[in-house]
């Protein structure tokens, strides 16, 4: 099958049936469901330990009201982590490379934090628009700047994730194409390129994990300001 560079980003379809739902739900099947036991097998133990760690880290800066968001934030983190990591395998489709999907995750959650803040503590929420200790003449300009920065947050969240993953995948494709194309002519350069590809793969694994964490961390930060 001859692939162009952007075939990996097309939403998968089989005989006209969109497979996007399967690709979104499949990663969750790989995680063991907690068994009805006290001492579980190694995978379940590690999973529980990891979820415990993540939840604790995310919820520590939040007050008690913010702990209601524990489930959605932790499950979002696990979801993004699994999707990103599985997308590094060959011939896989990564849903988080689609801007539509990331905006669909970022915008509602950001809006939820904003509305929570505006509804429950409007003056504190609006007070975040002006940093402390600004000189008086600068206030109008700063308010405008902070409002812009506030409104651009969902866009930034979505696009950050999309861009990082898309760029990473594209780079992998390009460099592997280069290394395959150079193999018959200059094998040495091809081997060098393969080394670069190895390093890039390591980077991509790190980026996959970091991007998932950053997405959720920023959402929890926005929540901290507003709850």
């Amino acid at each position: 099958m001859n692939l162009s560079f952007f075939d990996q980003f097309t939403s998968p379809c089989l005989l006209g049936i969109p497979l996007i739902l399967i690709s979104l739900l499949f990663p969750a099947l790989l995680l063991p469901s907690p068994d009805n036991r006290w001492i579980t097998n190694r995978l379940s133990t590690l999973q529980s330990w990891f979820l415990h760690l993540v939840t604790k880290q995310l919820m520590m800066p939040l007050n008690k009201k913010g702990h209601k968001w524990a489930l959605i934030l932790t499950s979002l983190m696990t979801f993004l982590l699994m999707i990103n990591l599985l997308g590094l395998l060959p011939y896989t489709f990564t849903p988080t490379t689609q801007l539509s999907m990331n905006m669909a995750l970022a915008l509602p959650l950001w809006l939820a934090t904003l509305l929570t803040g505006m509804r429950n503590q409007p003056s504190i929420s609006l007070g975040h628009l002006l940093p402390e200790g600004t000189p008086t003449p600068l206030i109008p300009a700063l308010i405008l700047i902070e409002t812009t920065s506030l409104l651009i947050r969902p866009l930034a969240l979505g696009v950050r994730l999309t861009a990082n993953l898309t760029a990473g995948h594209l780079l992998i494709q390009l460099i592997s194409t280069a290394s395959i194309a150079l193999l018959p002519t200059i094998p040495t350069v091809s081997i060098l390129t393969t080394t670069i590809l190895l390093l890039l793969t390591l980077l991509e694994v790190a980026v996959a994990m970091i991007q998932a964490y950053v997405f959720v961390l920023l959402l929890s930060l926005y929540l901290q300001e507003n709850i």
């Binding site: 099958m1 036991r37 001492i39 133990t45 590690l46 330990w49 395959i180 590809l197 190895l198 793969t201």
Partner: protein, 254 residues
């Protein structure tokens, strides 16, 4: 009606499945409120997972092919399949192949290097959990053993109670005896004082009488000395002195 028979027979049939599957399936097929609720104790987890070669292919596959094709059978099958896919271009070598090689090498390296550490960490987490529970049990056992020892000590002390009472009894007897003797002594002293007084009184009286009598006799004797007797005594004394018969004797005596 047949469905009811199937439903009744299903749990028994499903119990014959391997335990993890049976537990999961029983959850879904147990008829509501008709069978007894015993899913405990859960069957224990197997010690090791299924044997796997090269991380992918179960050992049972190799055992399955062994009678017909020997040891190299599965490898020949694998190689043949791979070459078939490559030669017929069912699997095309493109850039994804290189990317696949890279990610798989990274993954296999990670598993080989850190796999045992991660497994040990997971085992440690479980061990800590069990150790905490065991600690509770051991603490309780220790507490109870200490209580038993203390109880035994108390029982030993109770045995010594009779000695304690004997000692106390002796002590009290001694105190009473001492008190009695003290009082006896006091009585004796008092009586002696009284008797001494009487004796002293009598002695004093006799002494006084004697003194009085001596004085009276002396007074009467002195009174009865007439001047003629005095003169006669003095002239005799003068004669004796001047004659020097008994001068030294008298002088010595004087």
């Amino acid at each position: 009606m047949l469905s009811r028979l199937v439903l009744r027979a299903a749990p028994a049939a499903l119990r014959s499945l391997p335990p993890p599957v049976a537990v999961g399936v029983l959850h879904t097929t147990r008829p509501l409120h008709t069978t007894q609720q015993s899913l405990a104790p859960l069957p224990p987890l197997p010690e090791k997972g299924g044997e796997v070669r090269y991380g992918l292919i179960p050992e049972e596959f190799f055992q399955f092919l062994y009678p017909k094709t020997g040891v190299t059978g599965p490898y020949m099958l694998g190689t043949g399949l791979l070459l078939y896919f490559l030669s017929k271009e069912i699997y095309v070598i493109n850039h994804e192949t290189v990317a696949a090689a890279c990610i798989l090498s990274v993954f296999i390296y990670g598993v080989k290097k850190y796999g045992s550490d991660v497994a040990a960490f997971a085992d440690k987490l479980n061990e800590e959990k069990v150790a905490k529970a065991l600690d509770v049990k051991n603490e309780a056992i220790k507490g109870l053993e200490t209580a038993i020892e203390q109880e035994k000590k108390e029982q030993w002390r109770v045995e010594g109670r009779s000695y304690l009472f004997d000692a106390k009894r002796n002590n009290i007897a001694m105190l009473l005896e001492t008190n009695y003797r003290e009082r006896l002594l006091m009585v004796y002293n008092e009586v002696k004082k009284r008797l001494d007084y009487q004796v002293a009184m009598q002695n004093l009286k006799r002494q006084k009488e004697q003194d009085h009598m001596i004085q009276w006799v002396e007074k009467n004797v002195v009174q009865s000395i007439t001047p003629q007797q005095v003169l006669a005594f003095l002239s005799l004394l003068y004669v004796l002195v001047y004659t020097n018969i008994c001068c030294p004797v008298i002088l010595a005596r004087c």
